[in-house]
Symmetry: C2
Subunit: 236 residues, 2 copies
């Protein structure tokens, strides 16, 4: 596989800020695929491949464009024989999907509400207007009102994450000694939120910080390229 | 492995009514282990092996008693080479643990509140007194008050189960073509609650009913021995 390009959502300073892009960066690393990145803003997404996509990541391989992070993961797993399989069995893929559904229904909505104003403030100016309008409609409140209520959501977030702590207390990753795609999904979520948040998302003694720290160090430090303002990793 | 006996919690009519026992029945079936059962009530548990246990399942193998469903699962997986491995990899075990933590923090507490009076009514008389006292203390309300509020919890339960539906829409079990220990955990939970509930837990078009139906038919119909009053499986 060659000529591989990953379209990623970027902040005004170029920071990659999508949980779905981050999991794909990890997946491409695990599959030992070289790629170049093309940073886009929200308002640039309709320019990719004549408007076929409304979200990133989009992976371009030669003339082919693949959107949707699950479709991309399945695609790179099927076409590249380098690196380990992302999904060693149907069971592993299904449980990763369940884990993603859980994160998507319980955890990411909380992180979104906590970080929504922070995300806005990091976008390039022409994305800010689009983001404010669309997200205020989704939230049913202004970004400023959401930001004012965020501190009350932090303890809710920390309690919601409880099912994840004891499975990780005996081994370093959900995948065992090495991370699997479920880890990539979780790490992508924390790198996304951690890179934009302007308050501490996790308590400084939360064992999940150690999991994130370990995740930043795998695959030649894929996740190390970003500063995580919302996660206190000094103790992790 | 021989002389294997499973201590199980039973209702007054002998029905097995513990989600943790049911998963072990499935696990023993998957490991092709023959066993006899010994039905006990809540108030009989202190009689097992000189009071070492406060919960069932307890598995007796010769002179050895093993309690705690996770310890039993690991034990039978390590000592019996018959049948498939319960956990083919550390990742599969970790994700099953996460799934169990999620069920235990989000789903079983709701099922418990919905079914608590039904459970009480099914117990043998000397268990009923113990159950009422201990559970009313835990709930902070009478069993009757909990029962009066149960219908409001049914839509909450159905919404809480959402992360489980789409992973199961493409394949029959969490384990793929055949059930794995995560399925056993989930099936045990639904057989437990479904066997005691006196109202419909899931909507009759809920795809999770098909998953439960499939689960009842595996391992020579392990789960078929019980009538599921709380699950409408005609359409499943």
């Amino acid at each position: 596989m060659s000529d591989c390009r990953l379209f990623e959502l970027v902040a005004d300073d170029g920071t990659s800020i999508s949980p779905f892009v981050w999991r794909i960066k990890y997946a491409l690393g695990a599959k030992k695929l070289n790629y170049e990145t093309c940073g886009v803003g929200f308002t640039d997404i309709p320019q990719i491949d004549e408007g076929r996509f409304t979200t990133v990541p989009v992976l371009q391989v030669g003339e082919r464009y693949v959107g949707d992070s699950w479709a991309i993961a399945d695609y790179v797993d099927s076409v590249s024989s380098d690196g380990a399989r992302l999904f060693s069995s149907p069971a592993e893929r299904t449980m990763a999907r369940f884990f993603d559904e859980w994160l998507g229904s319980s955890v990411r909505p909380l992180l979104f509400r906590i970080c929504v104003k922070d995300i806005h403030d990091r976008l390039q100016p022409r994305d800010q207007e689009y983001f404010r309008t669309s997200r205020e409609q989704r939230l049913g409140q202004t970004l400023e009102a959401a930001a004012a209520a965020r501190e009350k959501l932090v303890p809710v977030l920390r309690a919601t994450l409880e099912p994840l702590r004891s499975p990780l207390d005996k081994q370093p990753f959900l995948g065992g000694a090495t991370p699997n795609y479920a880890d990539f999904i979780g790490l992508g979520t924390f790198i996304w939120a951690g890179s934009v948040a302007t308050l501490g998302l996790l308590a400084e003694d939360d064992p999940l910080l150690e999991w994130v720290s370990r995740g930043l160090n795998v695959l030649e430090g894929t996740g190390r390229t970003v500063r995580l303002s919302g996660l206190d990793l000094r103790h992790g």
